[in-house]
């Protein structure tokens, strides 16, 4: 016993010192992660946004470190940027709306209609595809939507054909990719809905439709908003899916990507657009109280 204490002497002394000095303990805990996050990550982010105010020499593509707001002016005045920005926001909103409409009945079934014994299993079934690779899922859709591919083949008996690669395909594939992120919060919201409220509504004479509109929807709206944070921001930042199934469609991400090597300051300025839009969206969503349930 005494041997053990003697052997652990320095360690024990160090432990004692740390125990008595919570400030020292805290700074030891935080120094490594803060060095990484603040210096490496936030530092490079700040540098990037600073460089959005620089310009590029049009001959050598080298960055000229002179303060100017040219990039942001171009962003606001040139119609290409406005078009692409509006299209990207439109795609993100469309994907979010589609996800909400498709997710609601599925979540309603898994949370309130299915037998309680089956519910955890159904949640796992919805969760499972999230572990499958993002790229593989987009690749699967590239195959599905290809000319003469499975979708065309399945629609041919009806005299129809698939949408092919393009804007529609992009919205479709993004909806597929982010759907589980919408189903899960709505499922959680519906599951927590107290039965008493629904009974009370029925006792007061409301039919199913009325109960749904006046009781269920308002209570589940924060969950929908929580899911929409994922569907909206993931869609807005995406450029890989567009490259694979979007045909010639360009979204903000593609504009950033195509400018990175030749005009980094412009790419940085374009990159601020999704960040600003996402922050505005988060602020709007916060008013519904959705962020607390994340």
């Amino acid at each position: 016993m005494t041997d053990a204490v003697a052997a652990a002497g320095p360690l024990r002394r160090l432990a004692g010192t740390l125990h008595r000095r919570p400030r020292l303990r805290l700074s030891l805990l935080l120094s490594a992660p803060l060095l990484w996050l603040v210096l490496a990550y936030l530092g490079s982010l700040a540098a990037l946004f600073l460089s959005a105010f620089w310009t590029t020499d049009s001959f050598t593509s080298e960055v000229v470190k002179v303060w100017s707001t040219d990039n942001f002016e171009a962003l606001l005045t040139e119609s290409l940027y406005r078009q692409v920005a509006l299209r990207s926001v439109g795609v993100a909103l469309a994907v979010t709306a589609l996800c909400a409409v498709i997710a609601f009945p599925i979540a309603f079934y898994t949370a309130r209609v299915a037998r309680p014994r089956w519910r955890p299993l159904l949640v796992v079934a919805i969760l499972t595809p999230l572990w499958a690779s993002y790229l593989v899922k987009v690749y699967a859709w590239r195959l599905i939507l290809s000319e003469g591919g499975p979708l065309d083949w399945a629609l041919r008996p009806f005299g129809l054909s698939g949408p092919g690669y393009g804007l529609t395909a992009t919205v479709l594939v993004l909806t597929y990719l982010w759907l589980p992120y919408m189903i899960l919060p709505i499922h959680a919201g519906l599951e927590q809905l107290p039965d008493g409220l629904l009974d009370a509504s029925a006792d007061l004479g409301a039919g199913t439709g009325r109960t749904f509109r006046s009781v269920v929807l308002p209570l589940v709206l924060p969950s929908v908003a929580a899911g929409s944070v994922f569907t909206f921001s993931l869609s807005l930042g995406d450029y890989i899916t567009v490259q694979i199934v979007g045909g010639k469609t360009q979204l903000i991400g593609n504009l950033v990507y195509s400018n990175v090597t030749l005009n980094l300051p412009l790419a940085a300025a374009v990159g601020t657009v999704p960040v600003v839009v996402i922050v505005l969206y988060l602020l709007a969503v916060r008013r519904t109280g959705a962020l607390r349930s994340l």
């Binding site: 079934y109 299915a114 790229l135 083949w153 597929y176 269920v216 994922f230 995406d238 990175v260």
Partner: protein
């Protein structure tokens, strides 16, 4: 709420359809890897395992798989250490800027990947290049670890929130110093949270493509980058099909492990 029978049937049909649409593309990838036709024509003219053996001998795909595993393990290790440190600081201490730190941890995954990607890319180019360190596996690991920290942090912080400090205090009353109490009491209690966080971090890293595009040097190819580069090459299509199918099959492993872990862990926080 009393639903009429037709309403119940409609909901059941909608859910069944929804799940079918979620799984059909994955199923298609599996079937397509057995498609004997080089250009994966549909419907497949037959089924064959030949492409699996061709893919097995494909050096590019194997090297990429190995690179992905290396990058994933290194990034996970860093994320486990950093995420746990932050979780302890935030959960067990009250200090100025605590909220700001929780926010800064989430930022790398909340911002679009391309913004994180080009920020790190230009930082690496200006800071590391003069030091003679070019883009390579090292920079990929740094990039991945940055956004993997958050999942470890979330899991460990959630566990610490539910762990009363009294266990540690009891250990100390019994004569253990704080390291001893950590090793014998706290660590065993948070092991499954670490496992869940590590699993998520590895899966995130293994699947990442955007940040990788901007942090990998010319010679470094992770598996997603390899798939992306070879997707449009008709010559490589059958091998890409097999690799895609393999990834679908491999995703069963984390699901199985996540289900073995208890309630508040991986299954609830794959976000």
């Amino acid at each position: 709420m009393h639903l009429s029978r037709p309403a119940r049937i409609a909901l059941r049909t909608a859910a069944a359809l929804g799940l079918a649409v979620i799984y059909l593309p994955l199923l298609l990838v599996l079937v397509n890897s057995l498609n004997p036709d080089r250009s994966s024509s549909w419907p497949p003219p037959g089924l064959t395992l030949d492409w699996w053996s061709v893919a097995w001998r494909n050096d590019g795909a194997r090297a990429a798989l190995w690179t992905s595993v290396e990058a994933g393990l290194a990034a996970t290790a860093i994320a486990l250490v950093l995420g746990t440190l932050i979780a302890f600081a935030v959960q067990r201490h009250a200090f100025f800027g605590r909220e700001a730190i929780s926010f800064a941890v989430v930022l790398p995954i909340a911002l679009p990947g391309i913004v994180t990607g080009i920020a790190l890319n230009s930082a690496f180019n200006t800071v590391l290049e003069p030091l003679g360190v070019g883009l390579g596996l090292f920079t990929v690991v740094v990039g991945h670890a940055t956004f993997c920290v958050v999942v470890v942090f979330n899991n460990v912080a959630a566990r610490l929130r539910r762990l009363p400090g009294s266990y540690e205090e009891a250990a100390m009353d019994l004569g253990a110093h704080s390291f001893r109490a950590f090793v014998d009491v706290t660590f065993p209690l948070m092991r499954s949270a670490l496992l869940a966080g590590g699993l998520l971090a590895f899966a995130l890293s293994f699947d990442e493509i955007v940040v990788t595009t901007f942090t990998a040097g010319p010679g470094v190819q992770t598996l997603p980058i390899w798939i992306f580069n070879n997707m449009t090459r008709p010559q490589q299509a059958p091998v890409v099909n097999v690799v895609a199918a393999l990834l679908v099959l491999l995703s069963v492993i984390p699901i199985y492990v996540a289900q073995r872990l208890s309630s508040d862990t991986a299954s609830a926080s794959r976000i």
